[in-house]
């Protein structure tokens, strides 16, 4: 193109734009229709693409929520279950050990309570001496209290649930119908190192500064022998038994300073955790939620503290217990009810020698519900949903399988969910299972 023609073009363009008449010239009808059809096609495609992506996003967010809640809730429970029954340094108690009779694990020494007026109501026991125990003598606390489960059906819970748990029902604050309850206890932390002087009522433990003892706390002395529970009097860094509180001062022998066995002193009141899990219906606090909408929620409670939410959208909760019985150490998986009632206590292994005082009167003495101290593993099942409704779900999308209910594969739920009787909503569901080895069990 020559320079001259270029100049011409520029000049013409300038004259057209300054004139303004040509800019108002419209499109022909044909042009407009073609443009509209094309535009509609393109935007239709875009809308379809957008809605598909948006729906995928919605489903994915819901699934992420299920995954995340499930992972967190099961992880939280696992941490507690794994510790169930832990007592820092558990003393084994061997007697007439034989591989076939007592299993490969030695029984462990029970805590000896050497304090008057101990109450441990959060432990499924009032902490009193076993029935038939001689008055004013130090008594053992069975390890069977450290794991206790309750199998709840639509009617009631077996064994009977202790007080302090919400009633089963269908309104806010109620326990979800048919969901199990589990309570585990364990000693956390590594306790305090100490030096000690004296024995019996004259014992004084000297702790490093910064301990957490307060007057009246229960203290647990974990030494070379069975751990001893006593009531602590605190003076600065010195901890000693409250005057007159020892049931048997002669049996309180913590040993000298720098005792072997890496002895420690624990604050039983504060470091002995009793964690309970159950499902509860919580009101949906989302302002945009339907009035009266309830969310089944996994709750955790420590001791008698207020319960806290762990994860929302947990519809079912079931526990199975792997129990070792006297039958050559065979481990059977049982529900809490089967474990408590269907099996005779005679199938428990021998109690720890701390119970020997019962032996002359009752040669085959087993403390009640003693199989709970032979729990070797706990299998937790939880059914998690998406918490909120997911838009555009076909019934097939709602199919799920909860292994506790049996069956061979995913099924589409009816209008109401089995066992809980709750509406199914438009949700996806997924079962989470966790098998935790509880290695701190006693025999």
């Amino acid at each position: 193109m020559s320079a001259a023609s270029e100049m011409k073009i520029l000049r013409r363009a300038a004259s057209h734009s300054s004139g303004g008449g040509l800019r108002q010239r419209g499109l022909t009808l044909l042009e407009l229709m073609v443009a509209m059809v094309l535009g509609l096609l393109v935007s239709g495609g875009i809308v379809a693409l957008f809605s598909a992506t948006s729906r995928t996003n919605q489903v994915q967010t819901a699934l992420s929520r299920v995954q995340e809640n499930g992972r967190f809730a099961m992880g939280r429970m696992e941490a507690d279950l794994r510790m169930a029954g832990a007592l820092y340094r558990q003393v084994t108690t061997v007697r007439n050990w034989s591989q076939s009779g007592n299993g490969a694990l030695f029984p462990r020494a029970s805590i000896v309570v050497n304090a008057s007026g101990v109450t441990l109501n959060h432990l499924a026991t009032d902490g009193r001496p076993p029935s038939g125990w001689a008055a004013n003598e130090a008594y053992p606390l069975s390890a069977s209290f450290f794991v206790r489960g309750y199998e709840c059906s639509t009617g009631t819970c077996l064994p009977t649930l202790p007080t302090g748990f919400p009633a089963q029902g269908t309104t806010a604050g109620n326990r979800v119908v048919g969901s199990d309850v589990l309570t585990v206890s364990y000693l956390r932390g590594l306790g305090s190192v100490f030096t000690s002087t004296g024995t019996g009522a004259a014992t004084v433990f000297t702790l490093p500064a910064g301990h957490n003892f307060q007057a009246g706390d229960l203290a647990l002395f974990a030494g070379c022998s069975a751990p001893i529970l006593f009531r602590a009097a605190v003076a600065g860094n010195a901890v000693s038994p409250v005057s007159g509180s020892l049931l048997q001062p002669a049996q309180f022998l913590p040993g000298s300073a720098n005792a072997p066995c890496d002895s420690r002193l624990f604050n039983f009141t504060r470091d002995f955790i009793t964690a309970s899990y159950w499902l509860q219906l919580q009101a949906d606090t989302n302002p945009s939620a339907d009035a009266g909408r309830l969310i089944p929620t996994l709750m955790r409670r420590e001791g008698t503290d207020p319960a806290q939410e762990v994860a929302q959208g947990v519809e079912r909760l079931d526990f199975l217990y792997g129990v070792s019985t006297m039958n050559n150490g065979t481990v059977m998986y049982l529900t809490a009810n089967q474990l408590t009632s269907a099996l005779n206590d005679v199938r428990c292994s021998l109690p720890s020698p701390q119970f020997d005082r019962m032996q002359p009167a009752i040669p085959t003495y087993r403390e009640p519900n003693c199989l709970w101290r032979s729990v070797r593993s706990i299998e937790a099942h939880g059914l998690f949903n998406t918490v909120d409704d997911v838009g555009a779900m076909s019934p097939q999308d709602m199919a799920y399988w909860y292994s506790i209910d049996g069956g061979t594969g995913p099924v589409i739920p009816g209008v109401t969910m089995p066992v809980t009787g709750r509406p199914r909503h438009r949700m996806m569901r997924r079962e989470f299972v966790s098998l935790v080895s509880t290695r701190n069990g006693s025999n």
């Binding site: 057209h16 994915q60 995340e68 340094r89 061997v94 007439n96 072997p260």
Partner: protein, 230 residues
């Protein structure tokens, strides 16, 4: 050149309209990209978190495995001990004995000779200075290939034994235990047992510093062994 001649007539109008299509298309593209990114970002986050959980579980299994290995060592120790060499189950680490040895409690407990044992139990680090208080678990758990690669952990777990003194919980077990003489505080008819604490440390499947996890478990275990009348 005839095209060129007609072109400028519409140029003023077309120059503005032509950009709009591109602009709208780009806006939609950005919207869809954002949606897609959000969705995949969510998935990637989930995958990473799940990976983290798996890493931690591998570490826990590694340490549990080593702890059980240590328990087996302790349990069978009396049978393996030999009276002709002093009948020791584990020599004392405080005397500078090579691993596997046991840190005893009777020396000053939290400083001096036992400081390495305390560090081993409490440190968050994975370093030679910490791990040297223990010994490497021998069954191979790291560097696995083929079908077993999925269960491979970054490095071999380490474990440490501590001597916690005699187990005074029970006295009624009959007989001597193998070739060990240090169990026999109760004599040949009421052999006493000694408690050892096994502490095991393990990393997860990935040992990179940013995502490394260390799991530490411990187990107090009493000596068992054969009840032979040696």
């Amino acid at each position: 050149m005839s095209m060129k001649a007609n072109y400028p007539v519409y140029r003023g109008v077309q120059a503005r309209q032509r950009g709009a299509v591109l602009f709208v298309a780009l806006v939609f593209l950005i919207l869809l990209t954002l949606l897609g990114l959000a969705a995949s970002g969510n998935s990637i986050l989930q995958e990473r978190m799940t990976g983290g959980v798996r890493n931690r579980q591998l570490a826990l299994m590694g340490s549990e495995s080593a702890a059980r290995g240590g328990e087996t060592q302790v349990f069978t120790a009396p049978a393996r001990a030999n009276l002709s060499t002093g009948g020791m189950v584990f020599p004392s680490c405080s005397g500078g004995a090579p691993q596997p040895c046991a840190w005893d409690q009777l020396s000053a407990r939290y400083s001096g000779p036992r400081a390495p044992a305390t560090l081993f139990r409490t440190s968050r680090d994975w370093s030679a200075s910490v791990n040297s208080a223990g010994t490497t678990y021998t069954p191979v758990l790291s560097g696995l290939t083929g079908a077993a690669e999925t269960a491979s952990i970054a490095v071999q777990p380490v474990m440490m034994y501590e001597d916690l003194g005699l187990d005074s919980g029970g006295f009624a077990n009959p007989g001597r235990m193998g070739g060990s003489n240090e169990q026999e505080g109760g004599g040949t008819t009421n052999a006493q047992r000694r408690i050892y604490r096994v502490t095991a440390r393990s990393q997860g499947g990935n040992g990179e510093a940013a995502i490394r996890v260390n799991e530490v478990v411990y187990s107090s275990f009493t000596t068992g062994g054969s009840f032979t009348s040696n």
